[in-house]
Symmetry: C3
Subunit: 264 residues, 3 copies
């Protein structure tokens, strides 16, 4: 496994790939700013009239069902097919899968109709997609954390994707290989949309390293986790942590990043 978050971050900042995000209303500003702070270029576009043309310009597509409705889901499918046609990697963030049938079925429909590269979700969401019992309260996973590794491996295998399961410890698996990422900070759970941001950051890393999605997904979570650690340093609570997070993403140093990642 050839993992170097620092090297991929360097490539990302040189190429400044466009990351097309069809995401939810709650976090659009936040994921756009995380993308920009990291060094890539975000674009939010959801109209059927333009998603195919927009995704053709992008290095990755991020689909997030956090505030889904039928027109948006249709546009996600159209954009996803256009991405698949040219081999552009797709990140699916199945926000709230397991909380309502509509979310579960929509996430499954996307997995069925699209060739998704990475599924990035919490344990409850990803477990839901592979039929494992999980408690999802709204958009928060309330299950036990001890089998997150199993969920990641099972999802990687069953869904034919890179499963990126975030939580106190993150687990990434392609069904065969399994990696745990221990970077991050508990304050990440106190700000809405940090999961969505980690999906956007995954899209950025995929755009910089499209031929190695498993490695890119691992690197993205490690880099985002390190930024979370830096952001926590002078934080007085969720507000200042949130602000610091953008500063920290922008300040991530490719030279020292690999030495700080905790990947096993």
């Amino acid at each position: 496994m050839n993992v170097s978050a620092g090297a991929t971050l360097r490539v990302l900042r040189e190429r400044k790939p466009l990351v097309h995000q069809i995401t939810n209303y709650v976090v659009m500003n936040e994921t756009a700013n995380a993308t920009l702070a990291l060094g890539a270029l975000p674009v939010m576009a959801h109209a059927r009239e333009e998603v195919e043309e927009m995704v053709a310009l992008a290095g990755a597509l991020v689909l997030n069902i956090g505030t889904l409705s039928s027109h948006w889901v249709d546009a996600m499918i159209v954009a996803g097919k256009a991405a698949n046609a040219v081999g552009t990697p797709i990140v699916l963030d199945p926000v709230g899968a397991g909380a309502t049938r509509y979310r579960t079925e929509t996430a499954r429909r996307m997995l069925s109709e699209l060739d998704v590269t990475v599924v990035r979700g919490n344990q409850g969401e990803v477990a839901t997609l592979v039929g494992v019992d999980a408690e999802v309260r709204g958009v928060e996973s309330i299950g036990a954390a001890d089998n997150a590794a199993d969920v990641a491996r099972l999802a990687g295998r069953a869904l034919g994707v890179v499963a990126s399961v975030t939580g106190p410890v993150d687990h990434v698996s392609d069904g065969d290989r399994l990696v745990a990422v221990s970077n991050g900070h508990e304050l990440l759970a106190t700000v809405t949309g940090t999961g969505c941001m980690s999906s956007a950051v995954t899209g950025c890393f995929l755009a910089a390293k499209p031929d190695a999605p498993f490695e890119a997904a691992v690197e993205a979570l490690a880099a985002f986790g390190v930024a979370g650690e830096d952001a926590a340093r002078d934080a007085k609570g969720p507000g200042t942590f949130h602000v610091n997070l953008y500063d920290a993403l922008a300040a991530l140093d490719p030279e020292t990043l690999d030495a700080r990642t905790r990947i096993t």
Copy 2:
């Protein structure tokens, strides 16, 4: 009257109720973060396909017409009826009622078709709903403040709700009882969505104390006002105040909160 913001906050943080919010695009991130900072779990979901199922999981429903359109209004009504069917409390925030006929009529329609628990608005908005002349410029109330207490009492009586009228001094009435809450800070008026946040916080307190909505509404405004006072301490303007507000909500101390509330 059994008012203790501290005691209710303690319950809220223990139970972490889900607060379902169908709200406007401008403040979604802000009300979600306020909810999370306080200690509850926010979920934003507006699709007709899922609102009934989602509200069934929630401890309170917050309906906010800040950027209303027909599909959203329909979903609010559907969600509200589902909430009513199981006795889940509803907060209505009639943003901009009085500014356009569409807003006034939509707010009135909700009050007519739903059993609303608390109406949280500024004086102009609430006055509009009971037919009192009021000047509403866009979404700001520009009227005189001296009769806010009368507006609250009148609205509580005429609408059969707990009327929660915020301003320099907040007034809460169920048509019979009337309480003034003097907590807060003038910087709250310099950040968009702080009214919407106070509605979300009201939803959080209702979820923790569903059997005493009048008391919960009072406690919510007192707690939010104390957080505003804390947030103002090191603020250099609306930007830093806004950030501090989330830190302050997360740092609210149930032990000392009641001693700091100014309720008369």
Copy 3:
């Protein structure tokens, strides 16, 4: 030319004009807060049922196609016609024109069906509208900056508007007169929506000085640029800069502002 950002800011803060914004999901909170911090009143409303009534209350209308879709575009046209009928100035922000046909054609349609007062965009967007080749990556302009002045003058003339082209140096032209504004800071490019904010601020200045749109557009960019300079002072990155920007807008001092503007 009678340019005084300080004098117009003083008028703006006295009158507190309502600025009606039909804008994109990504920046709604940000442009509302910038408007409020500056001293005007923002209102976001996009429903066909109310846009005519709302714009009748406003001192300026800002139309921004950042996350356009057909219903929103229709509402922008309806609101724009209502604004034209009573002479309320319109700012058009053609976000991403040049990136997709849908954006280019929509921006052109607005320019054809409405009497737009100011077009505020980056060089690539504005160049696209006058048929000059430009590279627009998503919503970012990637072209050379050396002919920004030519683009502004050409657009002013060809479109019959005040063209306000922002970048490292801003250029404003009505096709005849041409002004360069050198205020600002490179951190503005690291936060999403600062271009949209400058459009909102332009709307605020137009509302305070509707009879001199060229001067108002220049003053708006100078004032926003000075705020950017102030915001950068203690910023540690894009997060803290973003927060400071609202503090700086609120702290802009009409007495000293003109001495700090760099207009040539």
